[in-house]
Amino acid sequence: MVANLDQRPLSSVSPWIKLLLVSFLVLQIFWHGHHKRLAIHSEPLPMAPSKQLLEVLSFGEPEVLSRVLMLWLQAFDNQPGVSMPFTRLDYTELTHWLQIISDLDPDSQYPFFSASYLYSQVDNRDQQIQMLSFIRQNFLLKPNKRWRWMVHATIFARHRLNDLALAAEYAVLLRENAHGADVPHWAQQMEIALLEAQGEYQSARLFIGGLLDSGQITDIHELAFLNQRLKSLREKSFNGISQ
């Protein structure tokens, strides 16, 4: 066996050094075990900083910072030891955060996905309207890229808020602004769909089915999420009929 020339044998280490090492290792374990655990309390959403400040802090990578902030925001309701319902979030501040995340990367659809499928699913009309307003405002900036969120907002206004006037307003905005090659014909004719006596499940099936058929959704997580959502709407719809 070749002797290790780089290291001296263990016996060359003085016993008091070994003792010191073991004692402080034990002390560290003891300290950690008896240390006061973090208090469980939910933190409110902090104030969104300015876009300029975030651009400086992104060191030339605003798109990456946008995604990191989005994941942080998405996980904000799950704070250490406590799961906070969305209704307890400050929706004005939430809208600011979503807006700034979208401004950092205008090509990202994530803020609109979250506004449509996560933050609008609360039982508070004001908060739902705030999310729809966020989608409406941003749809007008890039209608051909963000039309699908406006379609969702139209269905949501019609079936969840039961606000036909608001749904009709959104449908008109879609018809007037979304004219890109990627915008399907049915999306531009949402007004007709509103007039038909369709339930939420049928409308969602039309919308999600149309998106899946067009091949615009490729992300496996999003596909799974939408399928799950369709399934839950179908169950709700069947339960409603049976009752």
């Binding site: 300029q52 400086v56 030339g60 990578e61 798109e63 990456v64 990202s108 994530y110 992300d219 997580h221």
Partner: protein, 261 residues
């Protein structure tokens, strides 16, 4: 005895530095760090509900970029400072070798190491993004690495001290990456005062922007995420690399020729 050709001299230096990189386990370290980046990307991809690939590739690209820049900087600075402290530089300079060739040789070696690391990073990124999105990013990363390497070389020669040189390169890198946004901020709507102090500050920021390379235009994760490498960007990146590389190289040469070993 005939004097070896310039190419031969440079390739000898390059070979020595690649050997140094292998012996100091630089490649192995990079592979471990890159694997951590891939793990982070996979983890964040699991959290995401949509745009999973974009999140994974974007975050991995930003991670690899920072990792390569700092690993290369530390390698360049520590290698150069060790050469000076061990008097290896004196041995080289006692040979019939110009100081400029010595420095160019060193640079070509570090550039070769940078190239290997960039290729390694590309291999990681193609797991998450199509090759057509990855190759412009990798070329840009290589050009950016060259600038960082030559700045590290210049700082190592000037300071002959690893922490000081590393701090200088870090400051230079982060300032160069954010100077565009800082200039916009200096002219933004938040600056409403017309005081002399503000005017001096704005002029200082603008002056600084003239001296720094526009690294915020280089190696953008956006190219990986959205596949939007614009040909116009190349017309900025390539001339900027050539100009700044030659500027930094002449700074390093100036300092090296004045050094009395």
């Amino acid at each position: 005895m005939t004097k070896p050709s310039l190419f031969r001299q440079l390739s000898t230096f390059a070979q020595t530095i690649v050997q140094e990189a292998v012996h100091s386990r630089l490649i192995l370290t990079c592979m471990v760090v890159f694997a951590v980046g891939v793990g982070l990307a996979l983890f964040l991809g699991e959290i995401a509900i949509t745009e999973t690939r974009q999140i994974q590739s974007g975050i991995l690209a930003a991670f690899l970029r920072i990792a390569i820049v700092f690993i290369l900087t530390l390698f360049t600075i520590s290698s150069m400072v060790r050469d000076i402290n061990d008097n290896t530089v004196l041995i080289y300079l006692s040979l019939p070798l110009k100081r400029s060739v010595f420095l160019l040789g060193k640079f070509s070696g570090y550039a070769l190491v940078a190239f290997c690391l960039c290729i390694l990073a590309a291999c990681m990124l193609v797991l998450f993004s199509p090759l057509s999105n990855v190759w412009p990013w990798v070329i840009s990363l290589f050009l950016e690495s060259l600038l960082v390497v030559v700045f590290g070389l210049a700082c190592a020669l000037s300071f002959v001290n690893i922490p000081a040189a590393f701090a200088a390169v870090t400051g230079f890198y982060f300032l160069s990456r954010s100077i565009g946004a800082v200039v916009l901020m200096a002219h933004g709507p938040m600056v409403t005062s017309d005081s002399i102090g503000d005017s001096i500050m704005t002029a200082f920021v603008e002056g600084l922007a003239f001296l720094l390379p526009a690294l915020d235009r280089f190696t953008r994760s956006e190219w990986i995420m959205h596949g939007q490498a614009n040909p116009v960007e190349w017309s900025t990146i390539i001339p900027q690399t050539i100009i700044y590389l030659l500027l930094l190289f002449s700074v390093a040469l100036f300092d090296f020729y004045r050094k009395n070993f």
